[in-house]
Assembly symmetry: C3
Homo-oligomer: 667 residues x 3
Amino acid sequence: MDMPSLTPRPVGLLYGGDYNPEQWPERVWEEDVRLMREAGVNLVTVGVFAWAWLEPAPGRYQFGWLDRVLELLRRNEIAVDLATATASPPPWFPHRYPKSLPVDTDGRRLWYGSRQSFCASSPEYRDVALHLVDRLASRYHDHPALAMWHIHNEYGCHNLHCYCDVSAAAFRVWLRNRYGDLGGLNDAWGTAFWSQWYTDWAQVLPPRATTTIGNPAQALDFRRFSSDALLALCTAEREALRQITPGIPATTNLMTGNFFGLDYWRWARVLDFVATDNYLVGTSTAPHVDVAYAADIARSLGRGRPWLLMEHSTSAVNWQPRNLAKPPGMLRRNSLSHVARGSDGALFFQWRASRSGAEKWHSAMLPHAGTDSRVWREVVELGAALKRLAPVASSTVDGQVAVVLDYPSGWAAEGRAQPSVDMGTFDEVRRWYGALWRAGVTADFAPPGAELSRYPVVFVPALYLVSDNDANALASYVDGGGTLLVGPYSGVVDECDRVRPGGYPGAFRDLLGVRIEEFYPMPAGGSVKLSGGSVGHAWRELGRATGAEVLESYVDGPVAGSPAVTRNGRAWYVGTRLDDDGLDQLVAQVLAAAGVAALVADRPPGLEAVRRRHPDGTAYLFLVNHADAPATVAATGTDLLTGADSAGEVTVPPGGVVVLRSSGEEE
Amino acid sequence: MDMPSLTPRPVGLLYGGDYNPEQWPERVWEEDVRLMREAGVNLVTVGVFAWAWLEPAPGRYQFGWLDRVLELLRRNEIAVDLATATASPPPWFPHRYPKSLPVDTDGRRLWYGSRQSFCASSPEYRDVALHLVDRLASRYHDHPALAMWHIHNEYGCHNLHCYCDVSAAAFRVWLRNRYGDLGGLNDAWGTAFWSQWYTDWAQVLPPRATTTIGNPAQALDFRRFSSDALLALCTAEREALRQITPGIPATTNLMTGNFFGLDYWRWARVLDFVATDNYLVGTSTAPHVDVAYAADIARSLGRGRPWLLMEHSTSAVNWQPRNLAKPPGMLRRNSLSHVARGSDGALFFQWRASRSGAEKWHSAMLPHAGTDSRVWREVVELGAALKRLAPVASSTVDGQVAVVLDYPSGWAAEGRAQPSVDMGTFDEVRRWYGALWRAGVTADFAPPGAELSRYPVVFVPALYLVSDNDANALASYVDGGGTLLVGPYSGVVDECDRVRPGGYPGAFRDLLGVRIEEFYPMPAGGSVKLSGGSVGHAWRELGRATGAEVLESYVDGPVAGSPAVTRNGRAWYVGTRLDDDGLDQLVAQVLAAAGVAALVADRPPGLEAVRRRHPDGTAYLFLVNHADAPATVAATGTDLLTGADSAGEVTVPPGGVVVLRSSGEEE
Amino acid sequence: MDMPSLTPRPVGLLYGGDYNPEQWPERVWEEDVRLMREAGVNLVTVGVFAWAWLEPAPGRYQFGWLDRVLELLRRNEIAVDLATATASPPPWFPHRYPKSLPVDTDGRRLWYGSRQSFCASSPEYRDVALHLVDRLASRYHDHPALAMWHIHNEYGCHNLHCYCDVSAAAFRVWLRNRYGDLGGLNDAWGTAFWSQWYTDWAQVLPPRATTTIGNPAQALDFRRFSSDALLALCTAEREALRQITPGIPATTNLMTGNFFGLDYWRWARVLDFVATDNYLVGTSTAPHVDVAYAADIARSLGRGRPWLLMEHSTSAVNWQPRNLAKPPGMLRRNSLSHVARGSDGALFFQWRASRSGAEKWHSAMLPHAGTDSRVWREVVELGAALKRLAPVASSTVDGQVAVVLDYPSGWAAEGRAQPSVDMGTFDEVRRWYGALWRAGVTADFAPPGAELSRYPVVFVPALYLVSDNDANALASYVDGGGTLLVGPYSGVVDECDRVRPGGYPGAFRDLLGVRIEEFYPMPAGGSVKLSGGSVGHAWRELGRATGAEVLESYVDGPVAGSPAVTRNGRAWYVGTRLDDDGLDQLVAQVLAAAGVAALVADRPPGLEAVRRRHPDGTAYLFLVNHADAPATVAATGTDLLTGADSAGEVTVPPGGVVVLRSSGEEE
């Protein structure tokens, strides 16, 4: 189901944020709604942390206050993304069911007092939460303000893994489903090593604290299980809602940019549309690329359909060591970058800054300082801008290339006892994405087994683990005319983290025409020179080409002469982690070989360019200038934000945004 | 009650240390006492860790050995500070009452085997400890050697927080007393956020390990409770002693310079006089300022009355990664700096260096090497010097300015999910104090609600949290003619850590004539330039003056143009953390505006100058030269240490000390 | 018993590795054995992690597969080092006996799922393990392939300490044996301090997590106990094997180079010959010296008799953050350095690289890439080289000097509340050993109380703790004509970690003619200049010579003028930690004074030279060139590896190895 256009669904782009009226005396609510209208807010998320107000005691529900909130919003034509409120059980719940509290790998029970303090496998949690969902849906199923359901909140953010006995039992059920019998499990986990052979299901445990390195396949399956255990809860909520409100779309807010603990490819399938939260990290050197990265993952999870930026911040967050505020204009650029990449709106956490609690220092649409503030003025301006961008709604973005992102592979590569701690996956995917951003090419993400034939080029930055099927899919893609660039330490293990014998890169050895016999990880901070002048980090390899053309080889050290960059027809390989310059050059070379050009030619650095398009051909070219200098590019169209027409050339001021509409024929 | 002048109380200044005869065969005691006399020792603290020898089994007491020790000391005219011995329960106690052992936030029980291994809320600990106190007091209440009581030892040093179920129950009692009902608690803690609404007292817990950021107000109240729980034990011991020995003063050794875990303002009220321990930290760049800091806090806790340096070290301590020994002369300077600032003596831990145990590498008055040693020679010299300084005893020091120090505010600012980890309180108070030290101005400390009208200037380096009453007291102080300098991130929350809405610095907005709308914490190591040339660190603010004169504004970055240093009549504000140079300049500016000059004019850097004074006007100007060069200043009087008269000018040699007596009229 | 020459014992040097056939389908075994023969393998270790296959359920044994493996090996004339398989209990064991799982100092139970997850004091573990040993020995006692027994594996690597109640009880038994009664314990532990006096054995515990610094003597005894608890298991296995196979030698693989948790001097006594594992650490700047260090310790533990390198790696390991592969030739040099220093062979972990499990990224003799690989080619070459070196077998190495290494002293010095964390022992012993390596002198190691008269020089780099007997032994050694160099912070405490009073260095004060009264540890990274131009780190001392000649004194700081390097006849002392240059100079000075010269004169840096010798005088001079340049030295003999004769001079190519045989008369 695509994002809905129901009665209460606002026309155009969605604008608003989390609204937690239970934090405030009822007299404040009128002011809230008046200011929401002033800011152009048309959708608010209500009830995310309201369980304690909805069910103050076991089985005793109170909805009067929520009735009044929803009625107030309806009267003011503000639609509601109604939360199921299950993300933060009230104290009475864990107090009554202490076994529902999560337990960490050290056997330490984690108490309530913050949020998400529950074990995903707890039957009590599941029962009581679903009962609440059922009551909420039953009460508000036909409420005219109800635009969509907000299932839970940021699944797995704080309770991703639980090692308690209940979880252990659930893990065993999951494993039985996966492997059938203990023989299958023993084979998959390689329990022949270190005498770990299981002879009774009751012996099988989560990877609890142990004396030294645990079984890597056990750890990997536990991460898969943990993702699925939470997904089962999400699916159960989704099903409960569908029973009662089949026409109301439901989603949950993922965290695509910073969180890689859940296999979001599996999650996206159960959501009516993808929503994500996107918070910046203060130590990033390119936060605007981080924004684009999270947005493009979100869009890709939804297979290109419009999605929704469910949360971001107007300024600082509260959970980092140093929470940097956004300089003027950044709030607008961040929001519109998301819209440029397919979000049908821009929402924030939260509407009104809290006075108390763990997030009182998190910025909001309405800051502590009130309306006489930079943030509020920018919030009002953004609301007006989004209104002008209404025609963009429901248009889509087409990625020019694809980047393969696989969660379980990344989990396996993060395991203990790997050749090098420097070979993590998710940072490297982000780094390759950065090269594509700098190249001005719009990228989609894809799981490894996806049908990729529509992309002229596919990038595989780091795919340590790959199944035969998924490896074959990539080979077929190249057979079918696609161009592929594979990064180091890929294809080396199967889906059970078992090394593929006979030489690396295992599953891709024939496809790439390269045979690596030994890895030479580098000491911390080390580097290696390549014959073409590039510099590699972290990793080197000893091997030879078995069919591929050697484009660059290592110049020095124990691997001198071994191939570093190769090309086997359309299948390229790089066996080290190139620095950004080298990566930019290699990516440019591969794009050129496949005939892929930047979306906008002759683009100055720092100018982000993305195009959304309607089925009728109407297109919107978003130009977001993240640089300190004006950016001029060749482009034609009418700026939706100012109404100005550009013919042939447009200049985007420093920090500015231009959205050029053009009809399909013009292109 | 002031410090006593009882029969056994030595005339003049007190000199000695912790004496633990139970560590040594009885034959050593005679040598101990002989050497004490040689060194001029007139007071020793006995029994701090003697519980196991006083009560070797439950309810079985043995006092014979202590009788002999006290008699030996009495015969040698050495007075006794008799410890209640409750700081280190013997193994039989926790073995018999395992629930008395403390439990940390992770639920980990902390065992015996070191010291202070008890839960402050344990009723068994309280009963058994008070019984011991009662027995001690009953036995020695009229012992002629008994000069004072030494309650416990360094309260809270190692068992400040306990998260066990017994503590949880005690915490609930404390909270009921504070808030009356759950409504009050829910309001104070802002439990509306994250669905933390308590509906039954039994649900309320200490801030145990949880999934993510806990409730900050809960954490703050738990720190208050923890301070009070230990204070209740101290008070109970004090009351038990007062019952039996109403005339013997009682104190406990605080740790004013390095320990900010207890609200010492509340503690000082129950002590007959303030005593403190003061150990230097090897990584400090200005240990002589650290000495002064701890001393001035101790004096201020006792509202200016004489106090007692109960412990410091002759040379190295044992608990730091690298325990630096004191270079020659430092022992003397450290001791006399304390005396200069109001201590009526100088005591050490411990008399004779241990051969065994956790502190065997802690220096002592009598080192492992014995009397043929630098340390021993300096100990003997110091004893002689203190004898010459006897007239100083019971004179007092008047602070020229006050610095506001509030423990709960500091605890709140140290909480999680603050805007920046760089905005801690206690280090910043120490840093401002350093500026006053360098300015040559004698500073008192004061709690925020204190009556401050006797001070021409009051400094508020960091007061994140402030109640309305306390904020009003500061406003009244300025109204009454006082000059105030407030540092950044002050006044922003109320006593429950609830943000004061409407713009920062909240409670001080009107007083300072400044309205800040947003904080801009800086990245790690960042800095910001001010228009006057100063440099700020850690923190910047976006705002505007609403009445104040802007003395300096930010020059660059997102807050360019916002006020950084302002003056609203006598109320000054600085919105960033100035580096030491900038702080020195600003402090000088404020002092000058209020007409406060250095105690001694034209003082070279490194020369410490403090004056003690008797009610009759006799004054003692202490000049301690911490520099490598001789220091000459204008001063008149007779050096108590050498008998030399100075008329108009005195030169203090490098590393030396001069104590000039002058009669009241001379000044 | 020396290393055996039983029927299946290969002639010459042993070559092979851990062979874990249970990891592979039986069809692979034939290939394994074929390739072993190709590589010249003549010994494999079988069954180290096979418990689960030998005893798949409690008391149910299956030996068929092992029968087939041993028969296959026998047929191919490959001898077997048969493991007792007790190092990794299968899941059924801890599942059945959960109390057998170890508990850490925080009370956290460590689960199974890796290896060595058992408590050394568990009676269940002991019973079940010994039963398995008995069954293995009974079945294979007369198997013709059985060459030796491999007891357990790397004792204590992951379960060195257990703090559970069972361990507590065992600790008490151990303490009773050591001290007799509680009086002895209280005296030894100095429980007078901090009121830790024990009045009932039941009160005595392992050093579990406590509130602050625990009792250091308790911690030390717990380390002693932990070593003995594992040793008791090893001894029990050894005795069980001896009962059934009195003629088959038994050993266990120690970890002499990197592991100092067990008192190997006590362990070596129960082994028929010493075996060790030796893995390099990637951050080392001199791995070739590390190899020599571990080898020389192993040889010394066996009192100079031939020993066996039981495990090392062909290339990278898997347990470091970055696991560096070995460059070409290093595998051979590493192996032959061990042989040079007395190993009668070179074995590896493991034969065939695993596909699964915690060590799948550990290199092997047969890598993932198979036989077409650098590693395999080097393995085959090494096999051939070892065959040519067969005559070397059973010859021995004579150390020219001795270095004192004491485990308990090192443990005590690593305790908490020491003067400086920079004064650890084992790294310093390694550093002094490095100076001897660079001096070209062959060093033995010795425990402090050893009979040392055969050595012209003895080095004591760091011997914090020493008993009277051991101190007297060193004094007698000097009396008897020996030359001694003692490093700082030595002799200061007795065997119970009690400070020796009267001045440092305590037990060595008279011997060295130096009296130190105070330590002056340096701040992190600090240094001190010596009068002779050397530079000291970490440590300085205040004291004076009381008979010794002062060779160098401190130039600056608070200890200026105090002695830094002294000589009291043949007893030398250095009171600071000299940097490598200073250490090299001092070591050279001491060696020269005692008339000890390098084994090979005029040796270029990086050339390792060691001589093995047969009782008949036949000698083998190993020359291993670790440098990038050819090394030419004066030497005569026939190179066993090439057959080339050298007369007067031999040149070793960069990275190369020469082994010159000479008859006794030639020297």
